[in-house]
Amino acid sequence: MSRRRKHQAVPLDRDASGRYLPLLVAIMVYLAALALAGAMVANKLASRWDSGLAGALTVQLPAAAPAAENATGNDPVLPAVVALLEQTQGVIAVDAMQTSEISALLEPWLGDAVLAGDLPLPRLIAVTVDAGQPPDLAALRRSVLAIAPGSLVDDHQRWLSHLLDLAWAVEIMAIVIVAMVVCAAAIMVAFVTRMGLAAHEQAIELLHLIGAQDSYVARQFQNHALSLGLRGGLIGLLCALPTLYLGRHLLQRINSGLLPEMSLLPHEWSLLILLPVASALVTMLTARFTVLRTLARMP
């Protein structure tokens, strides 16, 4: 009624719990933001690996023995396998990698010896296949082995499935962490609300005696919790943003072809920005539910 300030019938803003709740919510939102960003990156990683390696085969021929080379010094096995692959139904493109390309790939792990040609190198053929109508892999393996015994036809599925499992596990763990953070926040708010109910028992009794319904009392608590939850959520998000930036920066420094671009898309950012709103809603609904449930048990 007063023009000078909006008053609360229950003076919750004077409680000590009110001072710590935003801090606790901020920590929860910080953790949730990191976990959510982790889940989104893991999802992106899995999608990239899945789409990047779908429709690709690698044929690895053993290193050519000097005796196997013909008079011109070339190994006749490689062109024969390339020709076989090109004639195979479902194969779109065949690219026999040059020795220099293979050496360059192995150089970071094996050193200059590879470039000097001191080590026997396998020959690699990158094959692009029609993902919709892939070739019969078992038959292709048999045909390749008939021409080049000891060769490998790798569709990457074994390796890829392990990586995808890892990415999904990271994603699920992140989602579980978010769920646990929400549960922890709800338990914490319920506890603080019960403390508030006990601390303001006399004021609440008076409000009831002059005609307040439980929903009126619950509104006092839920509005207070909404404000604290929103404040804590914003603090948590503001703290999470530099951490996410730092994480992205560190991952970019790895400079590995395995990792996708780590920047989040606009819709992914909007999910993170909604976290303070979500935290405010969780605290508000928890406070309301706790008050109504506690008061309903009273005589």
Partner: protein
């Protein structure tokens, strides 16, 4: 309006505080509940403002048995009852103005007009200069007047007052009892519990005397309230 039938009250397993009370206060009536300290006046009032259920017997308010009321119905019924508590029960963090406006805010009637009503009422009880004062800064008598203003602001159908003049000088006490009379004239049923016999004698209203948790029928029969047959 208020009907007690063979009502017994005890707290826990303790002794009977009220013993087989039967009484009826008709709509628009004005009653004094008189008795010494510990006679059971406050306990009787507590049942009338729905803070206490009887251990035995039946209490009906506005024609409804209070035993069968839901929490929502209880809240709505309480909005028709104004109470002046013996210990005032003002919210210390709210100003006098906000305390008085609280029943209107709860019932959703708060607005510019009700704000004016609050100011007028506070002026009438002599607190025009203390509208924005917090209760701890007010004297006992001033707090009591805020409590009285809060009880009557919603124009209740039933006004219950527990020692409403305990902290007031005689002049202000009489003035407030006349305020209650004015409310009574527009249909409010008034029940005042007091130990101040001399004050009660200034008004010709029915008196119910309580002694040891029972109605003392040896009192002024002419002023006795209408009672139910046992």
């Amino acid at each position: 309006m208020v009907r007690f039938e063979d009502v017994v009250l005890r707290y826990g397993k303790g002794p009977e505080i009220l013993k087989h009370i039967s009484l009826q206060f008709d709509p628009g009536s004005y009653h004094f509940l008189v008795g010494a300290s510990g006679a059971g006046k406050s306990s009787l009032l507590r049942m009338m403002y729905l803070a206490q259920h009887p251990s035995d017997g039946r209490v009906a308010l506005f024609g409804r048995d209070i035993a069968g009321l839901s929490r929502r119905e209880t809240a709505l019924l309480r909005r028709q009852i104004g109470v002046v508590f013996q210990d005032f029960r003002l919210l210390e963090h709210l100003t006098a103005r906000e305390n008085v406006a609280l029943p209107l805010q709860i019932s959703g009637e708060a607005g510019a007009r009700s704000a004016k009503d609050v100011e007028e009422l506070l002026s009438w009880v002599g607190l025009a200069d203390h509208m924005d004062a917090l209760p701890p800064t007010l004297s006992g008598g001033q707090q009591q007047r805020v409590a009285i203003a809060r009880a009557v602001i919603g124009r209740p159908s039933l006004l219950l007052a527990d020692e409403p003049t305990g902290n007031l000088d005689d002049r202000m006490a009489v003035r407030l009892l006349y305020l209650f009379e004015e409310l009574n004239k527009i249909g409010t049923t008034v029940v005042i519990a007091t130990h101040n016999e001399s004050l009660v004698q200034r008004f010709r209203h029915p008196i119910t005397r309580l002694s040891g948790g029972e109605i003392d029928s040896s009192g002024d029969s002419a002023a006795a309230p209408k009672r139910e047959a046992p």
